[in-house]
Amino acid sequence: MKKSAQAVIIGGGIIGCAAAYYLAKEIDDVILIEKKCIAGESSGANYGMVWQQTRQDGYDLAAARRSLEIYPQLCREVFDLDIEYEEKGGMTLFFTDLQAEAAKGYVEYKNSLGVPVRLLSGKETRSLEPALSSRVTGSLFCAEEAQLNPFYTTLAFARAAQKEGATIYQGVEVLSINLDRGAVCSISTSEGKIFTNHVINAAGSWAGTVGAMVGLKVPVFPHRLQSLVTEQIPKLLTRTIQGSRIARTSEEAAKTFQYAYDTTGGNRPCINQQPPAECIIESSLFYAKPTVNGNIVLGTACDFAGYNRETSYEALAVIAHMAKMIIPRLKDVNIIRSWANFDPWTADGIPIVGETGVKGFFIAAGHGTGMSHAPATGEALAGLITGSAAAIPLGEANINRFTGYREEC
């Protein structure tokens, strides 16, 4: 193992690999350390959506839009692997007129931010996706959205980083990050010590553990998402779809899009803000992703269960129930596997990206939307470290927005 590096990235998910690529383009001796394998956690087990319609105004939306610009270019010029990037547009379904009504205001608001999302009727929705049931009363559709293969994309970034000279160690665990007068000076790993002045915490749902190594509280929590996958079937869906929560009352319908509005209302989230103890069934949000190979990935039931990776009987059954209601033709299809992954969760739904109070310690974590953000985040982080101009402002993604993050842990 190398003894020193200009920068060490912790975490071989999409954010870490993208950061490694952009950093390695600018500086020599970039090392990426991954405890398991590339895309071994959430980056290998998500829906691969590069969407803007659901992103919050500010850094969140800016990063998604920048990524939508960069991906096609990466595919053309950089990646040596087909990441199955397809700009087919993204679709959020609703199931009641009340939801459609609530969505009108949402569309106006998003259009004002430059997001070309539009409202489709049930009929228009089914003309794009004929497999959807008549329960679908309409949808939000944004043509400028894409889907990709999350595993291949992460791998493509990793390979691109290696081509630019980065070194990747898989199966290596970081044991401690060592400071000298308040600044990062080295890290100790299961394979030896590396001297470096820059460490980037890209450990996703484990960002808190890595943050604690320098005495910081990094409020990223594992949000367990459960999914099912079907056997391979002839083409049924064209694009990845998302279903809004099924609302039965106007009150519920109004809440349906609440998650996508700015939820913090200008208040600074607090470091001690723990994730809500959600019930799986009430927070399930429907996703269906047609993969290039013909399997359909179905999800998702969400809850906070620590790092428990097991899937639950109840969750799998409820996902299947949603799937059957929304895509009736799936009923005779076989389910061959389930899994759970840990989506990194923050209290305001925005990732944490940027410098910290510890000199040389950077964070790029908490992305529940890593695929939508990775290129922009990697690029911005590299800019921050090398001092070049930023393509998007990072300000509001900084950990400083969490009060008390520097308290002793």
Partner: protein
């Protein structure tokens, strides 16, 4: 309403456990995905080895009938055509066993204790042509002839000279097939001499230090190419032999069928003598996960006779854990079964397995 004990698999281990537990008063449900109970026992048309207490000299199929009779008398509930497709930790100490029946409708059983007696699966062997129709596991061929009464082919090459390879070759011959040869890449026969001798005296060659090179055929097996190997298992040029066969059986060992134990969070140890990754367990056959027990091939590849003894130990231990058997009483019963196991694992041939099993139990105590 929660069950006391759900046993997954109605082979020799599962049924033996069911009988012991039910006799002690445990409410037992056995689920099995097959249409008939007994697991591999009903394919074992040969007489079993061992001693009188191990039912030696009796054909496996008849031991199967005896076990079923005992289950019936002990009022064990056996659900057939029922596949357990998952075990989930439910609230409290209970475990949910998710099952599906033949019509593919699903339900679940909540239970205090689960016994995994899922047995083993055959190891694959990849060579050019192994995906051609006519290449199959020896166990699959045995199922065809002894359960379904269908001979898979007329002329067979057997790969692997362990007891499975030898016994299935013999049974294929009984079913009227010609056995072109039994080959093994190792320099020595893997199975027992008596099984080998039954074949050789009828003119079936057992070729040690030979390996399969390729199987060819247009749309099914037509010929198998075999070569002699040197000490590094590399084929020796010029030693190739061609067998005109329509069936190639693979008998290169078994592995514990342990997905349910993996998903249940049990700790494993790697012991090649027992077939690879095996759930660690104690002498009561309990895994590192509370209330998940194992018995039979899932706890290490052995014989049906040892599987039954292990099953009995598991059944007794479970009855004790549920408070239905006094400790002293259970201990005495278990010691008796352990004595039987020890006899079955005796001699130079059984020693490897005996040591591996002891290691597994030691590892449990470290976990």
């Amino acid at each position: 309403m929660a069950e006391d004990l759900v046993i997954i698999g109605s082979g020799p281990a599962g049924l033996a456990a069911a009988v012991e537990a039910a006799r002690a008063g445990v409410k037992v449900t056995v689920v099995d995905e097959n249409a008939s109970p007994g697991g591999q026992l009903f394919k074992q048309i040969h007489k079993f080895f061992g001693s009188e207490e191990h039912q030696a000299g009796i054909r496996g199929i008849d031991i199967g009938y005896r076990l079923l009779e005992e289950c019936h008398l002990a009022k064990v509930k056996v659900m057939l055509n029922t596949a357990a497709w998952g075990i989930f930790h439910s609230s409290g100490n209970a475990t949910t066993v998710a099952i599906k029946n033949k019509n593919d409708s699903l339900c679940s059983l909540d239970t205090k204790v689960v016994l995994l007696a899922t047995g083993a699966r055959e190891n694959p062997l990849a060579f050019p042509g192994w995906t051609l129709p006519g290449v199959m596991g020896a166990g699959a061929a045995q199922t065809l002839i002894n359960l379904h009464r269908i001979r898979p082919g007329n002329r067979v090459l057997m790969i692997g000279s362990g007891n499975v390879g030898l016994i299935v070759s013999y049974q294929l011959k009984q079913a009227g097939a010609d056995i072109a040869a039994v080959i093994d890449i190792k320099p020595e026969i893997g199975g027992w001499g008596v099984h080998a001798a039954k074949l050789t005296r009828t003119g079936i060659p057992i070729l040690c230090s030979h390996k399969i090179i390729e199987v060819r055929g247009l749309d099914k097996v037509e010929e198998a190419h075999v070569a002699r190997v040197d000490r590094e298992a590399k084929s020796i040029p010029g030693s190739e032999k061609l067998f005109k066969v329509d069936t190639v059986c693979i008998a290169v060992g078994l592995s514990p069928m342990a997905e349910l134990a993996w998903s249940g969070g049990c700790r494993f140890a790697y012991l090649p003598e027992l077939g690879g990754h095996v759930p660690v367990h104690n002498r009561s056959m309990e895994t590192t996960r509370n209330n998940i027990y194992i018995a039979g091939d899932i706890s290490g590849i052995e014989e049906a006779s040892t599987a039954m003894e292990e099953g009995k130990i598991a059944g007794i231990s479970i009855a004790r854990s549920l408070g239905l058997l006094k400790n002293e009483c259970a201990e005495e019963l278990i010691r008796n079964k352990e004595k039987n196991l020890s006899a079955l694992r005796g001699g130079p041939m059984g020693k490897t397995r005996k040591l591996a099993k002891e290691k597994l139990i030691r590892l449990f105590n470290i976990c």
